[in-house]
Amino acid sequence: MPWTRKHLIGIEELNRDEIETILGTAATIRHFLDRGAKKLGALRGKTVVNLFLEPSTRTRLAFETAAKRLGADVVSFDAAHSSTTKGETLRDTAQNIQALGVDMMVVRHAAAGAPLYLSQRLNIPVVNAGDGAHEHPSQALLDAYTIRERLTTLAGRKVCILGDILFSRVARSNIWLLTKLGAKVTVVGPSTLVPHWFVGLGVEVSHNLKAALADADVVMLLRIQHERQDSSHFPSLGEYTSMFGLNKTRASWLSPDAIIMHPGPINRGVEIDSDLADSDRSVILEQVTNGIAVRMAILYLCAGGDPEKVAQHVE
């Protein structure tokens, strides 16, 4: 299982083997965690900084937990109380943090391309925890992990990504990953939020919910952001729910074993019916749990860990 990368910026640049390496390493880590291992001390003595310049709860907590389970010390950066509010540039902020002697940086930023920018200017590994509408690689990896856990394989599976595709980094990372692993992906939602350009990424574009959900093995919902109605992308949340919200009737169009996914945070009653979110078909909380092992694998590999030697670090 090969892994030579120092940074994880996006799924786009990963090949199949690299994706399998991350997922395989995550499975190994999960195996030890499930057998009661408290920690894998691979990053003991190292410091991981969470540079989160955009609000985030689950991703930040997940990376923090993942780093701690690898034995690392974790420093978290709070944008609201930082020098960025005094006009410091990203480059200066990041170089100052690097100068503190940290070993790795996990970056969440509202601007697409910011993690790539930092990886070109820092000496330490940079892991993208979401950049604008560009990529959210750890989310796509944990989604793929979750689908495989439930449905064994991705090859030939019909996956429907539903919602605000245009502004979604989760959609983009998933499109790259799912198509690389052989799934058939349809993106569906209002025409203003699902532009035809996505066809160029190797997916089908649809505005017909019934056709898109028919026999799908996976439906991946995305949060609808309130601010999009102000920018005239759709008339109202109510209209969105009536046209594209996932309810019980619409869920019945899916394949019988289909699973419902959501990267969170969910808007109950908007993009998803509240009961459906809590139903057996929903894997929303499994996604969160799997996110720990997947992010441990990412940190482990980017720090130079050998995918064949995970067992040596079990404590």
């Binding site: 391309g113 920018y117 983009r172």
Partner: protein, 431 residues
């Protein structure tokens, strides 16, 4: 004693006079003359231009020299040096300075700086509206009287159609055109690159062609209605070229320019989020790029203009979303256009020279762009084949924000002459 210049053995390209032949160019006291007497020849400063092309000095009707108020990026002095190094002898400055040029006093400030430090001819423009805010007309008559050769709210396209109509109607009285940066601002809120496959892939906010096309249409309509010239700055969209072509066929007083970067580059260049490819209007698709080239070939687009837009390294060294729009243009324009238009698109060299000299001069009625007797002796000597590597950090502009930094280019300006005086020669400013 009069000052006499004799350029010999050049390939002289002077599109204004349909000239493209081996020969000499003569100047006396800063003006072109048809020939020298035997006596004058003895006293002349001789330049042997064997192997070089002699042409009218290039004319750029779209530059940002940042003075007053943004002189950390560029000044009239440094901008002129960059112009001279690029073979440009006449340039037209945009008014989006700090403060903007919406007052005759500011024009006078600029004229004083030109007097003090310009080594090429520099022409100011004034704003259409006060503060470029798009709300009230600037004192266009006073600006024209103070020397502005056009008015424009460059970069801050007037959105109010009534105000634009009145501006064009009013400017007509003074015989100065309205230059417009065609951009519907509501359609481009927060946008940083062309809307299309690349913006979708990169997750950057896209900027549709349509935002340019609707304003180009608006301007065609207003030019028709007022009977006055509107000049469309830096066209980037295929459909805009079509609109201009149809308007011109009907005799509408529309003129248009295109930049070297819009004919040489596409939005595919933004794949690495390099802010040196961030400009306004944005780089578009290859289809758009080819349409712009065809527009230049058939005359739908009147001329080339660089939109030379200096920004410091620390301003450009940012997240793509947050970096300012714009790149340098003056020092690389000839080589880039020569590569794109002559080498790749099979324009004649004479056509390229025309698009960089007499054509832009005609758009703004500038006394430039020709080697006719009595014209100012503004001359460029260039080697169309010389290969060189452009190092933006060692260039003459105060800034170095160029996508061509470190690139090997072909076609090099060797000597630039302004009013009969050599101002640039072999890599050095000699004024």
């Amino acid at each position: 004693m009069s000052k006499i210049l004799w350029i010999s053995n050049a390939r002289v390209i002077d599109p204004a006079n349909k000239r493209d032949a081996e020969g000499d160019v003569f100047a006396v006291d800063g003006k072109i003359v048809a020939k020298l007497t035997a006596e004058q020849k003895k006293k002349a400063q001789k330049i042997d231009a064997k192997g070089l092309v002699a042409a009218p000095g290039f004319v750029d009707i779209h530059v940002h020299f940042r003075e007053p108020g943004q002189t950390h990026k560029e000044t009239i002095e440094t901008g002129c040096r960059a112009a001279a190094a690029g073979g440009f002898t006449s340039v037209v400055c945009m008014p989006n300075t700090t403060p903007p040029v919406d007052h005759a006093g500011t024009v006078q400030f600029i004229q004083d700086a030109i007097e003090r430090s310009a080594i090429v001819h520099v022409y100011p423009t004034g704003c259409i509206t006060v503060g470029m805010k798009g709300q009230a007309l600037a004192p266009i008559g006073s600006l024209a009287r103070a020397g502005c050769v056009a008015i424009t709210d460059d970069g801050m396209c007037v959105q109010n159609n009534e105000l634009m109509r009145r501006a064009v109607e009013y400017a007509k009285m003074f015989g100065i055109p309205v230059m417009d940066h065609c951009q519907d601002s509501a359609m481009t809120q927060g946008a940083v690159m062309n809307e299309g496959f690349m913006s979708t892939k990169l997750g950057l906010k896209g900027w549709p062609n349509a935002a340019e096309d609707v304003i180009v249409s608006r301007n065609v309509i207003l030019s028709t209605y007022t009977g006055h010239q509107i000049h469309l700055q830096h066209l980037s969209s295929k459909y805009s070229v079509e609109l201009v072509g149809r308007a011109k066929a009907r005799g509408v007083a529309i003129t248009a320019e295109a930049t070297p970067h819009h004919i040489a580059l596409t939005d595919a260049a933004i794949a690495g989020y390099d802010t040196h490819f961030k400009m306004n209007p944005p780089l578009r698709t290859d289809e758009d790029r080819r349409s712009i080239i065809e527009g230049l070939r058939d005359g739908t687009i009147d001329c080339l203009a660089t939109d030379h837009a200096p920004h410091t390294n620390f301003e450009k060294d940012k997240e793509f979303d947050y970096a300012p729009f714009g790149i340098l243009g003056l020092e690389t324009a000839f080589a880039v256009c020569h590569q794109t238009l002559v080498r790749e698109s099979k324009f004649t060299l004479r056509r390229l020279v025309e698009l960089m000299t007499v054509k832009p001069a005609q758009v703004l009625k500038l006394p430039a762009g020709t080697l006719s007797p009595d014209a100012a002796a503004d001359i460029v000597l260039f080697d169309p084949n010389e290969e060189w590597t452009y190092n933006a950090t060692e260039g003459f502009s105060k800034s170095s924000n160029s996508p061509w930094h470190g690139r090997k280019l072909r076609g090099k300006v060797k000597t630039t002459i302004v009013a009969g005086k050599v101002v640039y020669q072999d890599g050095r400013i000699v004024a």
